[in-house]
C-alpha cells in the first residue's frame, strides 16, 4: 500500500509540468531548492542537535563563487560548479572548527556571527561581489547540452537533485555514522565514554551539511541567474531553520514539508493575503501547539491514531 502511494506520488511529480502552468512549475522548483537547503540544515539541527542560524553562508558562498568564476574567470559550469562546492566545503570545515568551540546558544551565536561576517563582506567587497548591485548576467548550466532555461527543464533538473540529495542524506543518517551522530545529540557524555570522538562526529556532520547547503546554493543561483547579498542574510538562515523545525527536525520528510509550507505561504499565499507574514507566524505557533515535534511526526501520530480506530 505504502509502495503504491509512493509510486503514485513520484509519478505525479514527474507528470506535474505537463498539466501545471509555468508559474506553478517554477514555484515547485523553488520548493525543491528550499527542500535541499532545509534538508542540509536538518543534518545539523535534527540529527546532530546543533542549532545553527548561519546556514545561509553556504548558499551565499557557493552562489557567489560560481557566479564569480563564470563572470570574471570565464569558466564554464562544468568547472565552476565543483570548484564552488569545493571552496564552500573547505570553508565549512574552517567555520565548523571555530563554531564547535561552543554549544547551545554559543554555537547558535557563532554560526550567526560567521554568516553575518560573510554578509557584510558581500556588501563591502564590491570589487569581487559588486556589492549592493549583485552579480547578474549569469546563465544556467546545460548538462549534456540540454538547456535548463525553460521552467519544465529546470524543474526536472531540480527534482533529480532533490531525489539524489535526499537519498544520500538518508543513507548517511542510516549508516553507523548517522547512528553515532544521533547518539551525540541525545547522550553526548555517554557517547564520549563509549569512545566516540564527539567533536569529530559533529565536525564531519557540519562539513557534510555545508556541502549540501552549497548544492542548494548552486541550484539557487542557477534558478535566479542573479546573486545579491540579501541571500546571505539572517532572514534566509532563520527561514531555513523554521522550515526544519516546523516540518519536523530529525525526520527525512520534515524539512521538505517545512520548506513547502514556508515557500507556499511566501510566494503563493502572499498574492492573496497582504498579511501573509502574520499568517506564517500564526502557522508556526499553531504547529508548535498542536504538533510540538513538527508536522511530519504530528501527522504520523494522527495517522497512527486513525489507524487504530
Amino acid at each position: 500500500m505504502k509502495r503504491f502511494a509512493w509510486t503514485l506520488f513520484v509519478l505525479m511529480l514527474v507528470a506535474f509540468p505537463l498539466f501545471a502552468g509555468d508559474f506553478y512549475v517554477n514555484l515547485a522548483s523553488q520548493i525543491f531548492i528550499a527542500a535541499v537547503f532545509a534538508a542540509s540544515l536538518n543534518l545539523l539541527v535534527g540529527y546532530g542537535g546543533l542549532v545553527s542560524l548561519g546556514h545561509a553562508a553556504w548558499v551565499g558562498l557557493a552562489a557567489y563563487t560560481s557566479a564569480w568564476l563564470y563572470l570574471r574567470m570565464g569558466l564554464g559550469h562544468a568547472a565552476a560548479a565543483p570548484l564552488a562546492l569545493l571552496l564552500t566545503t573547505v570553508i565549512a570545515g574552517i567555520f565548523g572548527w571555530i563554531a564547535l568551540h561552543a554549544s547551545g546558544l554559543g554555537f547558535l551565536m557563532i554560526t550567526l556571527a560567521l554568516s553575518q561576517v560573510l554578509w557584510g563582506t558581500a556588501y563591502r567587497w564590491s570589487s569581487v561581489t559588486n556589492g549592493d548591485n549583485g552579480l547578474s548576467g549569469l546563465t544556467r548550466p546545460a548538462p549534456f547540452g540540454l538547456s535548463l532555461d525553460k521552467p519544465a527543464a529546470f524543474y526536472y533538473f531540480a527534482l533529480l537533485v532533490v531525489i539524489v540529495a535526499l537519498w544520500l542524506i538518508a543513507k548517511f543518517v542510516a549508516s553507523p555514522f548517522g547512528a553515532a551522530l544521533r547518539g551525540t545529540r541525545d547522550e553526548p557524555r555517554r557517547m564520549a565514554a563509549l569512545g566516540h570522538d564527539v567533536w569529530r562526529v559533529r565536525w564531519i556532520t557540519f562539513v557534510y551539511s555545508g556541502f549540501w547547503g552549497a548544492v542548494a546554493g548552486l541550484l539557487f543561483v542557477y534558478y535566479h541567474k542573479y546573486i545579491h547579498p540579501t541571500t546571505l542574510s539572517l532572514t534566509v538562515s532563520a527561514e531555513a531553520l523554521l522550515s526544519v523545525i516546523a516540518g519536523g527536525a530529525g525526520t527525512l520528510a520534515g524539512p521538505v514539508v517545512g520548506a513547502a509550507i514556508v515557500l507556499t505561504l511566501k510566494n503563493y499565499v502572499s498574492a492573496y493575503l497582504e498579511r501573509w507574514n502574520m499568517l506564517l507566524g500564526l502557522v508556526f505557533v499553531l504547529i508548535v501547539i498542536f504538533m510540538p515535534d513538527g508536522v511530519v511526526p504530528g501527522v504520523r501520530r494522527w495517522w497512527a491514531r486513525l489507524g487504530r480506530k
Binding site: 502552468g21 509555468d22 508559474f23 517554477n26 514555484l27 523553488q30 556588501y123 564590491s126 556589492g131 549592493d132 548591485n133 549583485g134 547578474s136 548576467g137 532555461d149 539557487f220 535566479h224 541567474k225 542573479y226 545579491h228 540579501t230 541571500t231 532572514t235 511566501k266 510566494n267 502572499s270 498574492a271 492573496y272 493575503l273 497582504e274 498579511r275 507574514n277 502574520m278 499568517l279
Partner: protein, 416 residues
C-alpha cells in the same frame, strides 16, 4: 486582513463571448482589459515608499475610470518585500499567472537588476521606478524605460546649484551604503568638483544602522555644507540627531531627492525650514496635472504626495500617452515600446521625454522647505529644464567611464 488581489474591472465576459466568434484576433483583444502589473514593496523598511506607489497608481487609474486609450485596465499588485530574489519570483507570478502586459516598478535597484534578464526574456515593457544607473547606461535593456530618474540625475543639478548659486566651496557627503547612495554621491561629487568645489569627506553608514551618533561625531565642522543622499526616512532620522548634537547652524544641509521627501516632512517641525533639496518633483508644482493630483492625494490620504507617489502617477501618465499613441494596441509589443520611447508628454512633474537609453529627460526642481498653510512643503525655488542622466557631459565620454560607485569618480580631495 485584507485581500489584495485588486482587480479593478472584470472583463466584460459576455461581450468577450460574442466577440470570440465573430471578430478577428486583434479586434477581439481590444475588448479584453489591459493587464498592468505593479511591483512594489509593502513590507519591510521600504514599505512606506512602496505603499505610496500603490496609492498613487490606484488614484491615477480611478480618476480615469480604469480606462486608458479606450480600453479597460486591470491592475495586479505584487509585494517583493525589497528582496531581489522575491522580486523575481513575484514578477514571474505577475507574468505567468496574471499575464500582465506591462510592468510598473520595481522600487529598489537590486530588484530591477535581479529581474533584468527575465524582462528581456519575456519581452515585458517595464516602466521602472528603480534608479540603478547602468540599466539605462552601459547595460541598457530595450524593454525598459525609466520615468523617474537615475540616482544622480537630480544630484548633479544640485551640485551645480550649490557651487554657483549657494557659493559652497567645501562640502561633505553622507548617504546609505547602497548602490543608490553611492551613485548619487558620486554624481554630486563629480559635478561639484568639476566646477571647482571640493568634497572633503564622504560617509556611507549601513542602510539599517540604528543610530547615527558615531557618524555625527566624525563629521568635519570646517565645511560649508553637507549633502544627504539618504533614502526612505534615514534623512529625517539623521537630521534629527544632527540637531541634537548642536550642529544646526554650523553646517548647511542640502538633500538629494529622497532625503526630505514629502512623506517624512509631515513628521518634522520648524527645524527643517530652509533646507534645500533637488528632485524631479515637488508636491508644490503648479502645472495643472499636479495641482489636481496633489489635491486629490492629499484629500484622500491626508498628506502630500512625494517621490514614490509621484513616481507611479507619472509612469501612469507616460503609459497612457504611449497607449494612446498606439491606439491601445499593447499586444504589438515592439510598436508599443517604440511609441513609449518616443513619447513627449506633460505629466505631474512637467514635460518629459526619454533619451536613447530609455531614461527620462525632464525638469529638475531645486526646492526649499517652507511652511505653507500650516504644513511643511518643498517650495520650488529654481528649475533646471531638460536634465538628462548625463548632465552636461558628452554621452559617449560619460559611458566610457565606469558606472558611478563608491569608488568612482575617485575622491581626490578627502581630508583625514
Amino acid at each position: 486582513m485584507t485581500f489584495t488581489r485588486r482587480r479593478f474591472v472584470r472583463a466584460a465576459s459576455s461581450g468577450l463571448g460574442v466577440a470570440a466568434f465573430g471578430m478577428p484576433r486583434f479586434a477581439r483583444a481590444q475588448n479584453e482589459p489591459i493587464r498592468i502589473g505593479l511591483m512594489t514593496v509593502k513590507t519591510g523598511p521600504l514599505a512606506s515608499g512602496g505603499i505610496d506607489m500603490e496609492r498613487a497608481l490606484t488614484l491615477f487609474l480611478r480618476e480615469r475610470n480604469n480606462t486608458l486609450a479606450g480600453r479597460k485596465v486591470e491592475l495586479f499588485v505584487a509585494d517583493s518585500a525589497g528582496v531581489p530574489a522575491q522580486a523575481r519570483t513575484k514578477l514571474q507570478e505577475l507574468v505567468e499567472r496574471d499575464k500582465i502586459q506591462v510592468l510598473i516598478g520595481p522600487l529598489a535597484a537590486a530588484e530591477a537588476l535581479a529581474a533584468d534578464d527575465y524582462i528581456r526574456q519575456q519581452q515585458l515593457p517595464t516602466l521602472s521606478v528603480a534608479a540603478a544607473e547602468d540599466m539605462t547606461q552601459r547595460n541598457p535593456n530595450p524593454w525598459f524605460v525609466r520615468g523617474t530618474s537615475t540616482s544622480s540625475q537630480s544630484a548633479q543639478a544640485l551640485a551645480d546649484y550649490c557651487y554657483k548659486t549657494l557659493k559652497y566651496k567645501r562640502m561633505a557627503t553622507i548617504a546609505d551604503d547602497i548602490a543608490y547612495g553611492h551613485e548619487m554621491c558620486a554624481g554630486f561629487q563629480r559635478v561639484f568638483e568639476d566646477e571647482g568645489g571640493k568634497i572633503v569627506q564622504k560617509m556611507f553608514p549601513p542602510l539599517t544602522v540604528p543610530d547615527y551618533a558615531t557618524y555625527l561625531a566624525q563629521l568635519k565642522t570646517n565645511i560649508d555644507a553637507i549633502f544627504l543622499g539618504f533614502a526612505g526616512s534615514n534623512g529625517f532620522r539623521w537630521y534629527k540627531q544632527f540637531n541634537e548634537y548642536g550642529l544646526k547652524g554650523k553646517i548647511n544641509v542640502v538633500g538629494g531627492m529622497t532625503a526630505f521627501d514629502e512623506a517624512v516632512l509631515r513628521n518634522m517641525g520648524d527645524e527643517a525650514l530652509g533646507i534645500v533639496t533637488a528632485c524631479w518633483y515637488s508636491a508644490e508644482l503648479s502645472n495643472p496635472i499636479n495641482k489636481k493630483f496633489a489635491a486629490a492625494f492629499r484629500s484622500e490620504w491626508k498628506y502630500d504626495p512625494g517621490f514614490y507617489a509621484a513616481a507611479t502617477y507619472v509612469e501612469g501618465g507616460v503609459l497612457q500617452a504611449a497607449l494612446e499613441a498606439v491606439n491601445g494596441k499593447i499586444e504589438d509589443k515592439h510598436a508599443f515600446m517604440k511609441a513609449l520611447r518616443a513619447i513627449k508628454t506633460e505629466t505631474a512633474r512637467g514635460p518629459v521625454s526619454f533619451d536613447l537609453y530609455g531614461n527620462i529627460v525632464g525638469n529638475v526642481y531645486i526646492r526649499k522647505i517652507e511652511r505653507k498653510e500650516g504644513r511643511l512643503v518643498n517650495t520650488v525655488i529654481y528649475i533646471y529644464p531638460d536634465v538628462s542622466q548625463f548632465w552636461v557631459y558628452d554621452e559617449k565620454e560619460f559611458l566610457k567611464n565606469p558606472v558611478y560607485s563608491r569608488d568612482w569618480p575617485p575622491a581626490k580631495n578627502l581630508e583625514p
